[in-house]
């Protein structure tokens, strides 16, 4: 167990690699109740979210969800979130655990007359069930990604979200905190493998989902981070002017996925050099890929070196190890 954002979290139950493979080959469950939940309600809730979040909230119908960014004036990423539209004037925003207080304060400061923001994190538990057999094991029909429904699961009222952080099919089940143990036990009873933070990290890295605090953050703008797709630049939100400008002229650096060409495991903060120029880039996430059995990572490099096929040199504790920029995702299901 390790402390994480005020929670005691398991890094692994049986082993990172076997948990990782369970999710790629069958189904795994992650207790992600540490994630924060904010509720935004009122006739101006939509307007508050539209001006603070990068994506276009107007595209959301009740029952739909959307990946979005809370951006600052410089276009930096205060947090990455998923917004759920519960009904006409009520939204649910799932935020990163370590940013829960920052995000809540951010919305509170910008609250409009006619919108109310509440931190309801302590009321909810969130269990992510992911993998090619996740739906089958839960007796759920296939659903449209980024939609949700309220339903009963083994006798408990849950919100079934068609979202995840592994690149696999699956759901994230939100339930009341007091029902969490019952839902967790019911999921395990269906033969789903319990998985810890370690596998969550290697799974998301193989499919190049950014981790806030590693790959993205307030000091990295959304264009450099490759998240322009989550920015509706035709809407008005904090930092949009800067992001339009960056998109127009191109960022100085870009976040790229890479695979080691030599035996070595890249780790966060290692220096990346390109074309024998020392420095110039930095690893933001790195690990061993259990599916590809090589070192993989993501990091920022000068924009001109961001093309796939570009050779990088990673400084692994004083040893120079070669890597190659690849296209997203690093791991493809077909392989």
């Amino acid at each position: 167990m390790v402390p994480f954002a005020g929670w005691e979290m398991p890094v692994q139950y049986e082993g990172v690699i076997q948990e990782h493979r369970a999710v790629r080959g069958d189904a795994g469950v992650f207790d992600v109740s540490h994630m924060g939940e904010l509720e935004v309600e009122g006739p101006t809730a939509r307007e508050l979210l539209q001006t603070t979040l990068s994506n276009d909230v107007d595209r959301l119908q009740p029952g739909q969800a959307q990946y979005s960014l809370i951006t600052n004036d410089a276009g930096g990423i205060v947090d990455d979130v998923i917004v759920y539209r519960l009904d006409e004037h009520r939204y649910f925003v799932v935020v990163n655990a370590s940013n829960r207080e920052t995000d809540f304060a951010w919305f509170k400061e910008r609250e409009l007359r006619g919108s109310d923001v509440r931190d309801v994190s302590d009321q909810y538990a969130l269990l992510a069930v992911q993998g090619p057999r996740a739906l089958e094991r839960l007796d759920l029909a296939k659903g449209t990604p980024f939609t949700f429904e309220l339903a009963e699961f083994d006798g408990v009222e849950v919100m079934i979200n068609r979202t995840g952080y592994t690149g696999e099919e699956g759901v994230e089940l939100a339930c009341m905190e007091e029902d969490a143990v019952r839902v967790w036990d019911a999921i395990l009873a269906r033969g789903v493998t319990p998985c810890g933070l370690g596998a969550r990290d290697t799974l998301r890295l193989e499919v190049c989902y950014p981790l806030h605090g590693n790959d993205i953050g307030p000091d990295r703008d959304a264009v450099s981070s490759g998240l322009t797709w989550a920015c509706a630049l035709d809407t008005e939100f904090t930092g949009v002017a800067r992001l339009r400008e960056l998109k127009e002229r191109g960022p100085d650096q870009k976040l790229v996925p890479f695979v080691m060409s030599e035996k070595a495991i890249p780790r966060q903060h290692m220096r990346i050099s390109v074309s024998e120029q020392p420095g110039g880039g930095e690893v933001t996430s790195g690990s061993h890929s259990p599916m590809l059995d090589v070192g993989i990572g993501m990091g920022y490099v000068p924009a001109e070196s961001a093309k796939s096929g570009t050779e990088l040199v990673i400084d692994v504790r004083g040893r120079s190890k070669r890597a190659e920029v690849v296209k997203k995702p690093i791991y493809h299901k077909e392989q």
Binding site: G15, V16, I17, K263, A264, I265, H288, R317, R319
Partner: protein, 131 residues
């Protein structure tokens, strides 16, 4: 795949959870069951070069699991004669068989007297009890 806990009584131990098997004026080195269990499944072994000189109590290489990097501490001084290529190619061999196929290097002892400073099984078990 994972081995069950064991500590052979024909080895000498270092409190940093490394073992040495003395064979004349040579020694084979590895890490103990406790070390591999604490690290989790190994995914990388960074060995020293053959011919390199290594010193007692200093790092001669690294092993890595998904989440952690650990220095390999040499229990004895000497010259590296051989690196276990099987572990370079399949680091999980250490988890499967830490005292057999999962050995790490073979050295020629620079100072055979050093072995008297290492722990026997009974003394190493005391270290484990306090760990």
């Amino acid at each position: 795949m994972a081995s069950s806990e064991s500590y052979p009584d024909d080895l000498l131990y270092h409190p940093e959870h490394d073992w040495a098997r003395i064979e004349g004026d040579e020694a084979v080195l590895g890490v103990t069951w406790y070390a591999q269990d604490a690290l989790g499944e190994l995914v990388h072994y960074e060995p020293p070069d053959v011919g390199a000189t290594i010193g007692k109590n200093s790092s001669y290489g690294e092993v890595e699991s998904v989440k952690a990097v650990s220095d390999l501490v040499s229990p004895l001084s000497g010259e590296v004669l051989e690196v276990n290529q099987k572990v370079v190619d399949a680091p999980e061999t250490v988890n499967e068989d830490p005292y057999g196929d999962g050995w790490l290097i073979r050295i020629r002892l620079a100072n055979p007297d050093e072995q008297t400073q290492l722990l026997d099984l009974e003394a190493y078990r005391k270290v484990l009890e306090e760990a």
